[in-house]
């Protein structure tokens, strides 16, 4: 009875380990991780191997969507291929990728101020915008265009050809201008709202 219970615990521990590694993992490594002190104990090794076999068998149940396979002396969890169809549909599902406000704000800054660093974007938005920058990189709308010659050599971001194509413009020259006059206007407006004069 006690042995039965310990085998069950071993199975659970093995399952947790094989799952979190993701890749194929050596059976010997599993044994060492389970109990470093008994790793050389033949009896213990046998016990673990039996638990591995029991685990493999339990996965063979037809109601399971994943299986535990051996690759030489390694073990790995993988999906049963009869479930590829829904999996393909899931992976291909038109993701609800949408440009959120955060992402759009960040894109507008990069478009008009490029080449620009993360710190500059953060300064304008008032909050760190790394997540949005990463999304834009993933969408291939921006790219790294170099590094600033300053301490830490921060990355400079700019828009991609994809960006131009997506907006149907042929070069950055076509971007609407923001003139220095306009900037001065903003400043003035802000001052007026605050009701005082700001020495520049």
């Amino acid at each position: 009875m006690e042995q039965e219970e310990s085998r069950m615990n071993l199975m659970a521990a093995l399952e947790a380990m094989i799952f979190s590694v993701g890749d194929a993992v050596e059976e010997d490594e599993l044994i060492r991780a389970l109990d470093p002190e008994r790793a050389e104990d033949k009896e213990y090794q046998k016990e673990v191997r039996e638990a591995v076999n029991a685990l493999i068998a339990s996965y063979e149940d037809e109601n399971r969507g994943i299986r535990l396979i051996r690759l030489d002396s390694r073990l790995q969890l993988c999906t049963k291929n009869e479930y590829y169809d829904p999996l393909i549909r899931l992976v291909n599902m038109p993701k609800k990728h949408s440009l959120t406000d955060v992402v759009l704000e960040t894109l507008s800054i990069i478009a008009y101020k490029q080449p620009v660093t993360r710190a500059e974007i953060e300064k304008i938005r008032g909050v760190s915008s790394d997540h949005a920058v990463n999304k834009l990189l993933e969408y291939n709308l921006i790219r790294e265009v170099g590094r600033l010659d300053a301490p830490g050599h921060p990355i400079l971001f700019g828009t991609t050809d994809e960006f131009l194509r997506s907006f149907g413009i042929s070069s950055m020259d076509e971007l609407p201008d923001i003139s220095p006059d306009q900037l001065a206007d903003f400043q003035k407006q802000a001052e007026e709202e605050a009701g005082i004069e700001v020495p520049v």
């Binding site: 979190s20 993988c78 992976v91 291909n92 949408s98 076509e174 923001i178 802000a190 605050a194 700001v198």
Partner: protein, 251 residues
Amino acid sequence: MNKPDVKIEGFEGPLDLLLHLIEKNKYNIFDIPIVEITEQYLGYLEHMTEVEADFLSDFLVMASTLIAIKTRMLLPKEEKEEEEEDDPRAELVKSLIEYKMYKYAALELKDMELDAGHVMYKKATIPKEVRQYREEVDPAELIRESDVTMAKLHNLFQTLLRREADRVDPVRSRFGTITRDEIRLEDRMAEIQAEIRGLKSIRFRTLLTRKRGKMNLIVSFLAILELMKTGVISIRQEERFGEIMIDSLEG
């Protein structure tokens, strides 16, 4: 804008410091002895050494709040029959309790995080056969679907620049670095005591001739009040607008 977390002697902010004082003294949070707590609070500020101006200013705001409450409580209460007067401390108590609530929740979260930290996840393991179908995100489609145009992007950028300009608080940005007063109350008290030592009395005006400036005037005045309170001196004025005489009570 990204400055490291600063703490003053282990306190995360003025409320944290106040809570500490309340707990240390076993005060009732709903009936805080405001005079004592203000004194203790100011005592802590006195011992702050090199602190970032921004952080210090948060503590100073609280100091002025405390002093304001203290003043209101010392003022004779107006006789109002119909309604009980609001306790000047009510607002502060509310803030303290709210802060305490989140501080407590933070402790709970800490425990929860510790337990949850023992759980692991796995990376995506999409089989090769499946992955092949994977399509990249098409930026053009994304932009079309999100209904973004260059004009929109342009407007957005303008709005952002405007907000940035708004955010730079024009009032606060005009203050330079907050520095310690050059004239300290304790120093001035010691000076006055030294000047008056051996004399029977001295004119208030004489005290001011040695040092000039508005700050000196204020600090000197405060120093005299403080010395009066501690029984080192007494003052008298024979007639209205007459000379203020400071008499030594020592020796």
